[in-house]
Symmetry: C2
Subunit: 215 residues, 2 copies
DNA sequence: CTTCACCTTGACCATACGGTCAGGAAATGA
DNA sequence: TCATTTCCTGACCGTATGGTCAAGGTGAAG
């Protein structure tokens, strides 16, 4: 068993490749369609077309529309959590929160669809990922609140409410993805350039770090 | 004609009352359903049930689902703009931006559904209110940027980028409506109490006003 | 070559949805 | 009272959607 597994990992075999590649293409298309149309507005047909597969093939890899949606949301949540590591091992708020803002702003730029799907899911009452909110997210939040409180106790920042600081960080960074269309419209219809993204990141970091008395 | 109009305004007449009351009930139900299910997930039947009317009656007052949706979004946008007046006639950022944060946080608490519908609309590319973004919102934004820039020039706040300050204000205040479910989950499943809302408002104002060097 | 597990897909189905309509009820004004 | 406008609604329709299925294709192993 384990020998076979190793061999198939080294020499993947076309079968495995097909499955992996098709699932990847479907998930990528699904993320985009769910983000642009919402769960209710998205259709399996549209996802199939975008993935370049017949609709029946989608149901071969993902039993139901809800299963596919669940996978998309979970995928995003994991990216989300990975970025959270920026927070850890930082000596103080300037480094920790600064790196976290950088990471989340980068995700907003590279994964705008995922951010929208997440936002939509939460706005509709988190019917699919409620358990994640109650376990993983709550634990993560509590841990980060403790870190921030420690920084406050050590006099490295002003005594603000750590919970509302986290909300502000989430809101502000994800805004650039979720409301990207509005931002683009107010930017004369053009997407933010590299320079404008750097300005955005710098502005957010400046306002937040100054706002918590870290600089 | 004008005489009749005046009379019917003073003594409304049952006809007018019926229309106004039914339209109000439909719009209220629609706002909630659109917020909870998105445009695609909402059904006219569900809105009708929630408004206590047969579905066919909805189509008597609103020709299509899209017409009804459009009215809901417009309604929200107007509430939005009214709050913006907090910004004007303020001697400086502490009063102006402070009042704006107060007003927007209050709206997030009293009109969470509307905020979600707006967010959903923008996230999906603003198919219905794109023209509002390009005209009314852009003009409003430009005006407010000018005001902020004046405050900066007068030395009343730090030289931050006014545009990104506005984005932060929108993001942070609306987060309490759009992500209210997540906030409630992280609050042990309970909605924010009066005191917790006061804390939230105070925290946001404190961080923002300190962040822009106004206090 | 044969076998077998895995993949592919056109055709099909039941359902639910937005929207229509005809005919009746109710209110208003003359 | 009668005529007219407005309002109400059950029944209906065409369409689009999520999902199914049976039949066939394809590559790897023996």
């Amino acid at each position: 068993m384990s020998g076979d597994a190793q061999i198939s990992r080294l020499k993947p075999g076309r079968r495995t490749d097909i499955r992996r590649e098709n699932e990847r293409a479907i998930l990528e298309a699904a993320e985009k369609v769910f983000a642009e149309a919402g769960f209710g507005g998205a259709t399996m047909q549209l996802i199939a077309d975008m993935a370049g597969l017949p609709k029946a093939n989608l149901h071969y890899y993902f039993a139901t529309k809800e299963d596919l949606y669940r996978r998309v949301v979970q995928q995003i949540f994991e990216i989300w959590l990975d970025a959270a590591s920026s927070f850890d091992d930082a000596p103080g708020p300037v480094e920790g929160i600064g790196a976290y803002i950088d990471a989340k702003m980068d995700i907003s730029r590279t994964h705008p669809h995922g951010s929208k799907v997440w936002a939509s899911e939460v706005m509709h009452g988190a019917p699919v990922i409620q358990d994640y909110l109650e376990t993983t997210l709550r634990d993560w939040t509590d841990g980060r609140i403790a870190v921030i409180q420690r920084w406050i106790d050590e006099g490295k920042m002003a005594p603000i409410n750590p919970r509302h600081l986290l909300y502000m960080l989430w809101a502000t960074t994800q805004h650039y993805a979720d409301f990207g269309h509005q931002i683009q419209t107010l930017n004369d219809g053009r997407p933010l350039s590299d320079k404008e993204w750097r300005d955005a990141k710098a502005s957010v970091k400046d306002m937040v770090l100054r706002g918590i008395g870290a600089i």
